[in-house]
Subunit: 306 residues, 2 copies
């Protein structure tokens, strides 16, 4: 991995909404400030951020608010890949102008079964149109949700065409073999691979990974960041096991509503549980069961309140 | 079907792009004018329009240009369903303000495996936020592309909550049994079912369907519209067979690039072949083979030129 680049643990920051479903920029700034204090970077506008449930203007406004609040853009990797190339270019340009450390880029995800040629053309057009040597693109491979995979062949072709600009990938395939293949094939070229969950944080680091970008870094940031910092230590496997248990508890429920329910509970702010359609918040019973299960595992979210 | 509503054959109008990939509003107006002259309505911003490859502002601008050119909004059913509810509301409000006969609404399609509760909430919020009795929503069921189905149960629930506003559906499942079930269950409540291809135009009409919304209505409009007008005639099955042959010729290639290649050929305007990523235009060889195959079937696009 490249030491000048974003590394470590990043959170696809959950987006707080008001009761009328508009984004709550104040809560968002507070959450991002807290995550940075826990040594976790800001992959805002990821899948867990309900980013594709936000209009482009809403994302631009939220990003501007983070910068206005004085948060360090070098620690930000906003998601900027949209279905429409005009939206992707607009958002990416904005992120680069603000000095973001990188951008996490979904492929256009409406059309299925598209060719690598078409996907190459999408990313190439974005690179050319943004036209800034400060651009660092992290390709976002999440076939279970996008249904449009980013193949190793496509990565190879993009890396060859735009070395330096194509900076790495988030692999949310959930398939360690794919993550390992990415690492083996590209990590030595300075391509930073982030597994899409802490599940593969330790395995990734042992194979040259750059960290991880994980849903549960929203709620368990310090412990995940600690494994990143101390992964060569004797207790690394024990730490990984503990992380897996906490993640497993969240994963019994739909992940995004569960993360928000936990934040609502530990922050004492009920509105945090709000999700935009098509997602649905946990029921009161589900939320209570999640919290009870987490407490039984001695889970806590220190200093979140206030 | 309701005689005051949009019926008949509609085209998900292909969107012309300039060489720089910006939408070409002049060509768009000409194409829509031609389609209306062929007795085909305007389901602009459908799947075949590369609508999800357009930003919301680009769609608003194109729709405004059609109205400014004097085209009849009562013949328009623009696609207004986006991943972000804020985009869906904005586009739908605009379409209603312009007097569009209806809107064709995709479900939010990024998150997969979402519940009917979440989808109901999406459509219900849009209806409430648009808050206009002139709103007519046609639900867009296209699971092969969206991966998010609109179930019969969801339709039933929406129809009960918003009778009149939930005006019908486009069924692009390609599954006649599903179209038939929609017709049998809901047509008598004034719910207008449009099969998503002319393949089921005749079968649909014989079961109470309202017409069809079909990709190939971009290139074969008059013949499809004629079957709609004369489906009780003795030659209806022969007409259907002929339509199927032409469609089958296009379907040997990726549909959207093939439609655009045919329009480029018959209009004499090469730029028409342009598609936005992630799609890829037909190669010169593919386009020539398509045209040759269509000509061998005596296919023509009269009066398209000029």
């Amino acid at each position: 991995m490249n030491p000048k680049r974003i590394t470590g643990v990043l959170s696809p920051v959950v987006t707080p909404f008001k009761a009328d479903l508009s984004p709550d920029a104040e809560k968002f700034v507070r959450q991002c400030t807290w995550l940075l204090s826990q040594n976790v970077g800001l992959a805002v506008f990821g899948t867990n951020s309900e980013a594709n449930s936000l209009a482009t203007e809403e994302k631009i406004e939220l990003l501007d608010r983070l910068i206005a609040a004085g948060l360090d853009p070098a620690r930000m990797m906003p998601g900027t890949g949209c279905c429409a190339i005009t939206d992707s270019v607009r958002l990416t340009k904005h992120a680069v102008k603000l000095g973001c450390g990188g951008v996490l880029m979904l492929p256009p995800f409406y059309y299925k079964g598209v060719s690598d040629d078409g996907l190459f053309r999408n990313f190439a057009e974005i690179v050319e149109r943004v036209g800034d040597s400060g651009l660092r693109i992290y390709l976002y491979h999440i076939p279970p949700v996008s249904s449009v995979p980013i193949t190793l062949t496509l990565i190879e072709r993009l890396l060859k065409a735009y070395p330096g600009t194509i900076a790495g990938a988030k692999d949310s395939s959930g398939d360690w073999n794919n993550t390992k293949a990415m690492l083996d094939q590209f990590a030595k070229s300075g391509f930073d691979v982030f597994p899409g969950a802490e599940t593969f944080l330790l395995a990734g680091l042992r194979s040259g990974g750059a960290g991880c970008i994980s849903a549960t870094a929203n709620t368990n940031p310090a412990a995940i960041a600690r494994l990143y910092d101390t992964w060569r230590g004797a207790d690394a496997d024990a730490q990984q096991k503990r992380l897996d248990e906490i993640r497993g508890t969240f994963a019994k429920y739909p992940m995004i509503p569960a993360l928000k329910a936990a934040i609502a509970h530990w922050s004492g702010i009920a509105e945090w549980a709000t999700v935009r359609p098509p997602l649905v918040a946990l029921t009161r019973e589900q939320a209570a069961a999640l919290v009870s299960d987490l407490k039984a595992r001695n889970f806590d979210m220190p200093r979140l309140r206030g």
